[in-house]
Symmetry: C2
Subunit: 280 residues, 2 copies
Amino acid sequence: MAAKAESSDESGVKLLSGINDQYGGVIVDIIDPIDPASFLSFLTSSIAHWKLEGKKGIWIKLPIQRVNLVEPAVMKGFWYHHAEPTYLMLVNWIPPSPHTLPANASHRVAIGAFLLNQNREVLVVQEKSGKFEGTGVWKFPTGVVDEGEDIYAAAVREVKEETGVDSEFVEVLAFRQSHKSFFEKSDLFFVCMLQALSFDIQKQEQEIEAAQWMPFEEYAAQPFLQNNELLKYTNAICKAKMEGEYSGFSPVATTSSSDEKSYLYLNSSRAPKRESKVDV
Amino acid sequence: MAAKAESSDESGVKLLSGINDQYGGVIVDIIDPIDPASFLSFLTSSIAHWKLEGKKGIWIKLPIQRVNLVEPAVMKGFWYHHAEPTYLMLVNWIPPSPHTLPANASHRVAIGAFLLNQNREVLVVQEKSGKFEGTGVWKFPTGVVDEGEDIYAAAVREVKEETGVDSEFVEVLAFRQSHKSFFEKSDLFFVCMLQALSFDIQKQEQEIEAAQWMPFEEYAAQPFLQNNELLKYTNAICKAKMEGEYSGFSPVATTSSSDEKSYLYLNSSRAPKRESKVDV
């Protein structure tokens, strides 16, 4: 990204230096310290310069160490686009037309892992914290998909981390979208089926109270699950899957026009002619 | 949320007032102006108070109008959790243990809508901006799922907005996860099938150059699509679906333990016994 915070135009006026993006905008990555008054002055000249150049969206990435530059940027009309622990991204739109900037990320993505051994036993855990703490409820291993991580990889990783069990991804059996999961953000939860490649359990000390293989029927009969419509559906799906009567979506690696590899999750078994609902 | 920015403890020391969350934390919602020096002083006393109370995560929500309080908060050890155009959410963790705060939203969610009429024609558009601008490529209507919006509702809304066509959601046919779609954030793109309830097209002027019903074979034969592995898969799925040989995930309303209604997307037709791949 930008090596220096400023450059000069032809008349010697100091400008913030940035790199052009592919949408007619500029990305300014502030790394070195600048005093707020100088920053305000550079920013004022730069906005005039970008306007002349016909630039559209202007992005300013401020590391948290440059927190003293947030106020001057907002004074010049910038607003917040997104933030991560280490930085704040501000944005401004130069043309008079309504902006066409990309929306911020709106969803957190998580997985639950349905994993059977050869005795029709399912891998279950009790968590040390969270809403199931101290309830005695046995549940599927679950976890949040990291930024930049594939869903199938997150499922395999979480099972390994929580229980020490190696596994191979099979399918996404279903997914649930819910809202206001934290503040105004939404949640996508993918129920994944995995196939165990090892069976010895070594539970993670920090998060997991207990882990075991449990007969599926015993797991599904827990009163807690019987009172939760969502978990009842999930159990019905898992049961249908165990009986070879359900198919979910499996990942296929594809490349898109930008040559980035990404995974498409699709039903790789042809669908049946007859329609019959999953029993709940 | 908090009506006033401050309250007092028993000894009369001024404290920031907040509301307790269900995870042993506190949410402070700053609305009224405070000068930065007073804020720093209140925050220092408040942190000591929260420590005594055994509080864990402390959230401070600062509207963009309170940008002058960002620096004092960071000086007291707060860091950025997330941001939206109108506010910045900062967070701090009081106990000495590693934090268990929820992750920030990591994914943007978008939809593409596959919509047929009774003549096996598919609804397609040409966009005024974006990477297909001026290419003459006909594509499915697409759009971003708004914060708090259900995927099925977003698909119906986007089709209506872009083309004026009323429709009913049928299924998610497949989804693609891709990374670094803007800065470090990831993308989940859901290919949705909808059933048209009206057929007259009234295109949106701002975003759409042209919209029409086009024979599916003509759409699928576009050279652009032939050179894109992802779109070839999508076409194969749509074709299989048209021939009644594919089933995706359809939404079912469920209530979870918190009584919030959310949708579970699942394969509501039983899966076939035989396995055969989608042809590409």
